[in-house]
Symmetry: C2
Subunit: 434 residues, 2 copies
């Protein structure tokens, strides 16, 4: 019987996967150059790793179930709680700051839409053990450099940067009993809903309508001095911290990619300081591409020592980032590449296999006949895998102690002594023998 | 509150992960050189992808549950059913043979023991669309070469090779009503149970005790001519195919790693032709390291066109292969590597950040101060991450338009003009300026 895959899950076939792999390799290469170290983490965690912080309603968005041992478990919807758990368990063995990265899939039971799947891949990058603005700046610099390494420019993307304590400090400055978490969520939704609904959400959080309007005006102005004048010491500290992060990021060479944007809140509850979201600068991709920020309380709340933390998680596959790369025309080519096809004609397998083996030992991508096919079928296959050079090992060639070397782009071909193929050549081509 | 990970699941921290990554990179590099193309596949499938072939009892070994849409789903316990599904869905778009690989975790609800976890990583390598013995040989050659690339030799490992139709043909040659699947499972268990229990399992499958003993003697002798004499045409064909595969593998240069071993059966139901398992040649690691074989009927049984297939799946993490590499003393170093630490003293961040940026742009792994720490604490951190070179950017240095370049292994240091660091140097070190 025929089977089908699950909705929201994608099979990724080779020509497309080559492009996805190029994106992942680029992002990971940037992370490695910044000195982030790779970790690997489980796909399953106990459900309470999520419900403790976010309440039982979070389970509705998870792939959650009881395992055969009766444990309530969930497929990990994000990495942050897992790495926080790991820092609690063994963080004391590492000199601070701890800098980790990993690329892997996550799972959420969500409505499927363009660029949003139930299984998606992120490269998570985190710094643990530093509250210094330089740490926030390094995370921003990594993220911006990764996008530049992918081929994007300042015309293509922007990071909208804000600070959680700015929102909190402003809310405290109002004479009102405000549910801070609800207000932050309202701000997070402000770009996605009508102004009236946004103000109603703020009212639900405890602000009067007039206060909600004033609050929103303050955020919309993006004027830090005005905020300090309105708010108290918390606002002053937050503004100072935010300015220090922006200055450090400018020293790291990524100032051009950053914009102050106080309406940026990030939906997750655990953020405590600077938060940011990456957007398509042209607005064509409407949703946030990815985001990150500081979460200084999470590790302590998991039973660890006070451990400040800041991180970011670009979605590298089944996510919004590929849409941005495609919009900007820099998504990598969806194509397979092959250095050599060794074409065998007649009873020449020992030599053909030796040639293939020697070329592979030099690091090249080499295919040979696996189906006892004729000359034409093999040449057609070599073309289908974009072979750069075809080495024909025919009975007639071998009778002359030769092989035929064919450059596929031009169709030009010549002969080469079989002993010199590859012989001393590291990457022998038509040009070496013509 | 404190959280703990699940039993049978492992957190992998950086120094260990560096070694695991080296293993995965080596195996994938070998696969790429053979012309296998990367794919990505879902972590979840519908349960019936497994129960159709293996019966409902397989669910007991799976992480299986109903998702929020009421679908019976399972965490993928292996890749083969998924790639077979993918070949059915879109295989006709690809020129045959199709050659795919991927590295990812799988999950089984099993008893946890040394080298066996509930979450484990495999690199799956498969050829679709060729029944030629060269295809089986290429899969064997890839697997052997991957182990050699990992540093193992013919003294360290052996592939025990057999053929499913040999077992089937022999069983048919007995005058008995034999449950072939049960008999194959008995053979698969023969090395793990007492002889009496093994013979009892064969008796359960329908052989008399005398037949069971004769069957086992025939398998133990590893004499293909004797088998042909005893069995019929099926046995003759299977022997011919097995010999052709071994000859093709010898042409590919991996004959030394292969041993005929007719008691090798592989537990999975879908195998149809050559099957093999890799073992520690010293016997110290007692379990099979990994295995593979031909499964010519699976894709057709999933509703696709007749499509022969052969594959192998080395376990690259949380599996037996690392135990073999450790036993042989070739498991990669569990250590982190850092090219440069840029040490900032005083108010020198713009220059220190510029130096770090320039070194990263040249591809190096570079860390800098993220915690406003003093000279000694930074040097100690640089040592903890095994920095090769420390570049001191101090206020006094900069007053002389210099930086200090310190070689960490020797402790030697010298000064370099700040404009020449890195300047035209691709990888500037102490030696360039001393």
């Amino acid at each position: 019987m025929q089977h089908e895959g699950l909705k929201g899950f994608r099979d990724c076939y080779p020509p497309e996967m080559a492009a996805r792999r190029a994106v992942i390799d680029t992002v990971e290469s940037t992370a490695r150059r910044y000195g982030f170290r790779e970790i690997a983490t489980p796909a399953l965690e106990r459900q309470r790793l999520y419900t403790d912080k976010s309440g039982d309603e979070i389970v509705e968005e998870l792939y959650a179930f009881a395992d055969r041992g009766g444990r309530d478990v969930a497929l990990t919807p994000e990495l942050t709680p897992t790495v926080a758990r790991m820092v609690v368990e063994r963080g004391q063995e590492f000199t601070k700051p701890i800098k980790w990265f990993s690329t892997r899939p996550f799972w959420r039971y969500e409505q499927v839409q363009q660029g949003r799947f139930r299984e998606f891949y992120q490269t998570n990058v985190d710094v643990f053990g530093s509250s210094d603005p330089t740490a926030d700046a390094e995370v921003l610099a990594f993220a911006a450099d990764a996008l530049v390494d992918l081929g994007l420019s300042a015309d293509d993307f922007e990071f909208r940067v804000s600070h959680r304590d700015l929102l909190g400090g402003l809310l405290d400055a109002f004479d009102a009993d405000v549910d801070r978490r609800a207000a932050v969520r309202a701000v997070d939704k402000s770009a996605k809903v009508e102004t009236a609904e946004y103000h109603a959400l703020l009212a639900d959080a405890g602000l009067s309508l007039a206060q909600a309007e004033q609050f929103d005006d303050l955020l919309a102005a993006d004027d830090l001095d005005e905020l300090v004048a309105f708010g108290g010491d918390d606002v002053r500290d937050a503004v100072e911290n935010l300015r220090a992060v922006l200055a450090a990021a400018a020293d790291l060479g990524v100032g051009d990619y950053l914009d102050l944007s106080l309406r940026t809140a990030r939906g997750l509850d655990y953020y405590t300081g600077v938060v940011f979201e990456c957007f398509d600068a042209t607005g064509e991709v409407g949703r946030a591409v990815f985001g990150g920020g500081r979460y200084d309380d999470l590790i302590e709340s998991f039973g660890g020592p006070p451990t400040p933390a800041v991180g970011v998680a670009p979605g590298v596959m089944n996510s919004t980032l590929p849409l941005l790369l495609q919009r900007a025309g820099v998504f990598p080519a969806e194509t397979v590449a092959t250095d050599y096809y060794v074409l065998q004609v007649g009873d020449t397998r020992p030599t053909a296999a030796r040639v293939a083996r020697d070329l592979r030992a030099r690091g090249h991508v080499v295919e040979t006949d696996l189906a006892s096919r004729g000359f034409g079928a093999q040449l057609s296959y070599a073309d289908s895998i974009n072979a750069e050079t075809v080495v024909v090992v025919g009975e007639q060639d071998l009778a002359n102690d030769e092989v035929t070397v064919k450059e596929m782009a031009s169709g030009d071909q010549t002969t080469a002594p079989v002993d010199e193929f590859p012989g001393d050549h590291d990457r022998p081509t038509y040009g070496d023998f013509a």
